[in-house]
Amino acid sequence: MAASSKATVVLKAVKKIAIQFSPFESNVRSTREFLAMVGSEKARSTNMNCEVVTTVKHDKSEPVVDITYLDGDRLVMKGAKLTSTEMLSAFQSQCTSKDPQAKTAAKK
């Protein structure tokens, strides 16, 4: 499965990540895992300006991940029926498409 070639998440093109979920629901597992992966030390060290905001609610709402990029685009993922790997791969593909110059320069 070549979903993400690198284990770490690179947040260079991301301005803000807002995650909201209701922990007593049964469909929040993937969202929480996504949060754990994105909020880890390695991921945060790639971009110190990026904020990760978590809101814990109790209104049986769906878990939503809202990512705002540096150029103003927004990626909204509803994590109720998604797995964490799917969310991560979608997020990383968006990131690489947003920030190709830095990546290709780094690879060269």
């Binding site: 929040v28 895992e33 949060l35 754990a36 390695k42 814990v56």
Partner: protein, 245 residues
């Protein structure tokens, strides 16, 4: 160096032969895949494994007996510790920490210890199996991923919230205070409540408001009281007159 001719010259009985025949040209360990000897091929074909034919595929019918594995001793010890924690401590909060490094944890633990709150780590498996046996089974969905427990003997929610606000990685998921499960907003409103003594004082003052008014009226001069009563009788009679007419 091989001797193809076997010239056995045994000078005396029991001695090793002077010449030993060595086969060459047919090694057993080769670099390529050696073609199997026909006899070996036949043997393999005859002794091939044929699995027994199953009437239904393995997942068709659910198994009748569920295999319940016994807990291994470490799990038993951890469960005992967990039971003691739940018994001793009135407030148990579940917090998810994603990526806080060692010094952050140290500072957090120091700050919480000053208010009497301890930080506990337990493996998720142990937590889940303990919770589903105990009364607190509704806390089970909180325990997913990297979860830490904040336990304290006194329910000090306000201090805990202020300390958690300082560290951005910790997310409060829920708490169990005095055997009552609270969500994150519940903990917030719980922290805003006044203390028990204040609430008791308010209740007592509300109940004794009427009786204290009567007591203060009786304590004043009796002439004042008789004047009041006369006025009251006049009002009553005037009201009854108005009703009659």
């Amino acid at each position: 160096m091989a001797a193809t001719l076997c010239v056995k010259l045994l000078p005396k009985q029991g001695w090793l032969p002077l010449t030993q025949s060595v086969r060459h040209g047919s090694k057993s360990v080769t670099r390529h895949r050696k073609p199997m000897h026909i006899l070996k091929q036949k043997l393999m074909a005859v002794t091939r494994y044929i699995p027994p034919t199953r009437a239904a595929p393995p997942g068709a019918f659910p198994s009748q007996t569920k295999r319940v594995e016994e807990d291994h001793p470490l799990m038993k010890i951890l469960k005992r510790d967990l039971a003691k924690v739940f018994q001793d401590h009135k407030m148990i909060a579940a917090v998810q920490n994603n990526g806080s490094n060692a010094e952050d944890m140290l500072i957090l633990r120091n700050r919480l210890y000053k208010h009497g709150i301890t930080v506990k780590f337990f493996p998720n498996q142990v937590m889940r199996s303990f919770l589903k046996d105990s009364v607190y089974c509704n806390m089970t969905p909180l325990i997913i991923g990297p979860t830490v427990l904040f336990v304290s003997k006194e329910p000090k929610a306000k201090e805990m919230l202020t300390t958690l606000r300082a560290s951005p990685q910790m997310t409060l998921l829920g708490a169990c205070v005095d055997d009552t499960l609270l969500s994150a907003q519940g903990v917030l409103s719980f922290s805003k409540l006044p203390s028990v003594t204040v609430v008791q004082g308010e209740l007592v003052s509300g109940l004794t408001m009427l009786t204290s008014a009567t007591a203060s009226m009786l304590q004043r001069h009796p002439a004042h009281l008789s004047a009041l009563l006369q006025q009251y009788v006049k009002q009553q009679s005037s009201d009854s007159k108005e009703e009659a007419t």
